[in-house]
Amino acid sequence: MTAPLEAVEPAATQAAGPAGDDRPARRGILRYALSKAGGALFSIAMVIVGTFFLFRLLPGDPVRALAQGRNMTPEQLDLERRKLGLDQPLINQFFDFVGDTLRFDFGMSYEYKRPVLDLIGDRIGATLLLAGVGLAVAVSLGIWQGMRAGWRHGSRFDKFSTGTSLVLWSVPTFWLGLLLLLVFGAYFKIFPSRGIQSVDAPDGFAYVLDVAHHMVLPVITLVGVVYAQYLLVMRSSLLDEVGQDYVTTARAKGLRDDDVRRRHAVPNALLPTVTLVFMRVGFVVGGAVTVETIFSWPGLGQLFYEAVRVPDFTLMQGTFMLITVAVIIMNTLADVVYHILDPRVRSA
């Protein structure tokens, strides 16, 4: 357990050295975190303003779009317009919108006849499950392969794994998902084509298996397309470490190759990857839109997609803001965590 600390030490003493005791440093972190949080709040405010105007710039009359080509009388159109508050002057609409948003009232979904926040609450679990597992697998796979590829730079494993991951990275998510569906769903008939569970789902442990069974293809799709970034970042940062003096020293001490890698090089090389992971966590919420629509996964992505198809403006606004704000918050956290993890940043 002490090994990672040892390894970080050379860097830590370098940076924190002159400060002596750690109190100013801690105060520094607090100040840093506060300034980052301030920045994040500003961004969120901009998102709220931006969302309001963005959704009003969309082409087409929202009420007419809601009618979906049905024959509606002018009275009906007026009623819909009043319901959406579109009969008010723009400035009033804006302040209403801001006030409601600050109270976490995202309005009623036109299509579902339910508050947007409730709908998001219903769906977020499925998305977190899918995207969370996807992220965990992608990160583990990426780091593991990147570690090996970087350590044995130029080996067959390096070429194979880097090549494969880059090919998958370049493939459109939609295409990969459909391909997997056709091969494993239609041809081998071993994985289901849709959803998070069977329509007549069994109970108990069998239910867990049922959900796991439904998750296989979406997770593979999600992982296949993104794991290359973890692999490449891990690989290149490990490459940077390989030539360092401390690695040579460790080797000279007679440590086994695996120990040199695991205990000395990798902990130092992990930093950029960890930052990347944190930044990606923000996208977990919104990043699965395509995968969810391919596999009819009842999460936020599907909710957003359906909202766009209708179009259900309040729902679109709500999900859009949630997805954006999640990214901002996670990015801010990434900044702060990075600050804590890597002492070198503190002095910068």
């Binding site: 024959n71 579902y112 056709l182 009819s296 209708v310």
Partner: protein, 601 residues
């Protein structure tokens, strides 16, 4: 070598998990029941029939609720449903419907009061008009007297017998305070039709159970489920691997993907949909003021007719629709509605003849310029038209390519303009910012509504409101015929008037029908023993404006789990065992590798 072994082992585990999933499926609570699963690529918009407008929802409501009348499964003529019989008054303004003595699924009797409440709710509450407002527009009053329902009309209306409104149980629905914001998700639902909805997971599925007390007799299956797919390609996969048993409304590519599967029946019959070109022949608002920027040449009937002569419909069907459509020589009513279908014959019939099209344009004074493009007789504006289509619809892209080619032959340039659907609806239905646009309509057994979309009153108001016009058409002859057919209670005579209306549309050409797309569906014959379409033999299964196909179908029982209980536990134990063994194996393999690495150093 060992690495490969390890990989193989991982693959083995994956396959085992997959197999386990299959076993779990076989173990499902559905085992031993007769369940039919219908795939749908449209999400249910609402389980509240006052709000639901999508085909999937209205289809489900047709399986749940009774109507005054339903189309006969053979002739498509209105036939008794909840209304056992009906009599119009002498002047055709008062209709008395005798409501059938039967029960709601909660045991309460169905009365005329229920029907009267349903219609009055829509007439009196704007929020209840969303789904079927226009269907009661002509109702003066609706009252109940025992089992008699009396509907007084403002003006005669023959199509009253095709009323699309499901009769709702008053004792349940009168408690709803805000009908516009009610999702209808209360289960089990109270119905009088063949099925009772028992569960709805939004964007996932709807489960319906057979109504054992249905007055026609309980359906022959236990459960009917509608399973939602976000994407059509996945639904085809679902049909192939048996997750769903039937899927309707397929596009040609998905339909063709079903080819070659011995368990799947490819259902390819005449459909209820026509595709046509909407031509901006001088769009106006309801006060007859011009609106939009349509090309002036299109106001000339001769130019529109020339366009018609220049279109090779056979080629469009063969190459754009892969042969899965019927070239149209009629107007907006497709041939499946034999009573109302009209087809041009003799001199009126327009065929593919570019020479004749050129002749018409030459005679009308549209001279070709040096570049081969024609110009207006009185000026130098060239005959360059825009063709508005939707974004992301490959079939429309292809159609645009072919039309561009056809019109080039007669000295007319066509450029394609792609619009997202809300902009498209606005420009082609309200603001008139188009020359030629793609259009299409699904036609009900009674074509009145689709004909009405070409009435003067359907044009937008000067304020740009309302409407629902499909052509901005406003023609005296057409209006007169429309009014006459409203009053005509004799079906053959009314059909004759409706045919004349179509002939008018055909010759005046504010719209040019190009083909009737086939109804493409697929179902598993190892699961569905028999299913009857509407009309019988060569009609539609899903989305047929009738409960009949899904009431009369017969299914095979879901396979019971391979063996009782034991097999499943065995499989789980097997999987757990395999995981442990392979995990241990992998552990030792890596250990071994490590020592090999050590040796090398």
């Amino acid at each position: 070598m060992r690495k490969w072994l390890a990989r193989l082992a991982v693959l083995g585990v994956a396959l085992l998990v997959a197999g386990q999933g299959q076993a779990a499926l076989a173990q499902d609570p559905a085992a031993g029941k007769k369940i039919v699963r219908v795939g749908a690529t449209q999400a249910v918009d609402s389980m509240n029939p006052f709000q639901a407008v999508r085909l999937v929802s209205t289809s489900i409501h047709r399986w749940m609720y009774g109507f005054l009348t339903v189309p006969d499964s053979k002739t498509l003529k209105p036939s008794p449903d909840l209304a056992e019989s009906w009599t119009p008054s002498e002047d055709g303004l008062t209709w008395t419907f005798k409501i059938r003595q039967t029960k709601w699924s909660d045991g309460r009797p169905v009365t005329a009061e229920d029907a009267a409440w349903t219609f009055n709710k829509i007439m009196s509450d704007d929020a209840a008009k969303t789904a079927n407002g226009p269907a009661v527009e002509n109702f003066e009053s609706v009252t109940a007297n025992g089992q008699d329902l009396i509907i007084k009309l403002k003006a005669p209306q023959a199509s009253i017998l095709e009323n699309p409104i499901p009769i709702m149980p008053k004792h349940v629905w009168e408690k709803v305070t805000n009908i516009g914001e009610f999702s209808g998700d209360e289960y089990p639902s109270v119905t009088s039709g063949p099925y009772i909805a028992v569960e709805h997971k939004k964007d996932q599925y709807v489960k319906l159970k057979a109504n054992p007390d249905y007055w026609r007799g309980a359906p022959k299956i236990d459960e009917l489920q509608v399973v939602f797919y976000d994407n059509p390609a996945a639904s085809v996969v679902g049909l192939k691997n048996g997750e769903i048993d039937l899927i309707g409304r397929l596009n040609p590519p998905e339909f063709e993907a079903l080819k070659g599967d011995p368990n799947i029946v490819q259902w390819n019959q005449q459909g209820r949909r026509g595709a046509y070109l909407q031509i901006n022949h001088g769009a106006t608002t309801t006060d007859d003021k011009p609106v939009g920027d349509g090309h002036p040449a299109l106001k000339d009937q001769k130019v529109r007719q020339a366009l018609h002569w220049a279109i090779d419909k056979d080629k469009l069907v063969a190459e754009v629709q892969n042969g899965l459509a019927k070239p149209a020589h009629g107007s907006i009513v497709p041939p499946m509605y034999t009573d109302f279908f009209w087809e041009a014959t003799g001199d009126t019939k327009v065929t593919y003849d570019p020479a004749k099209a050129n002749q018409i344009l030459d005679d009308a004074g549209y001279k070709k310029g040096a570049d081969g493009i024609r110009t207006m007789p009185d000026g130098d504006r060239k005959l360059e038209f825009r063709f508005s289509i939707h974004t992301d619809t490959p079939i429309e892209d292809k159609l645009a390519e072919y039309l561009t080619g056809f019109f080039k032959e007669i000295g007319i340039t066509l450029t394609t303009k792609k619009l997202d659907s809300s902009k498209f609806t606005e420009e082609t239905g309200v603001t008139g910012l188009f020359d030629i646009a793609i259009s299409g309509w699904s036609v009900n057994p009674d074509p009145e509504e689709v004909l009405a979309t070409h009435l003067c009153s359907r044009r937008p108001t000067p304020a740009g409101e309302g409407g629902g016009t499909e052509s901005f058409y406003c023609d005296e002859t057409f209006e007169k015929l429309y009014q006459e057919q409203l009053k005509e209670l004799d079906r053959p005579k009314r059909a004759e008037l409706i045919k004349q209306m179509q002939e008018r549309l055909y010759t005046d050409a504010p719209v040019i029908t190009i083909y009737y797309t086939n109804d493409l569906e697929g179902y598993r014959k190892d699961r569905i023993k028999s299913i009857t379409s509407v009309p019988e033999a060569d009609g539609i299964l899903y989305g047929a404006s009738s409960f009949w196909p899904f009431y009369s179908l017969e299914a095979v029982e879901s396979a019971p789990a391979q063996a009782e209980g034991g097999s499943n536990t065995g499989l789980i134990a097997g999987v757990v065992g395999a995981v442990v063994v392979i995990g241990l194996g992998a552990f030792f393999l890596t250990r071994r590798r490590k020592s090999v690495a050590d040796d090398r150093e």
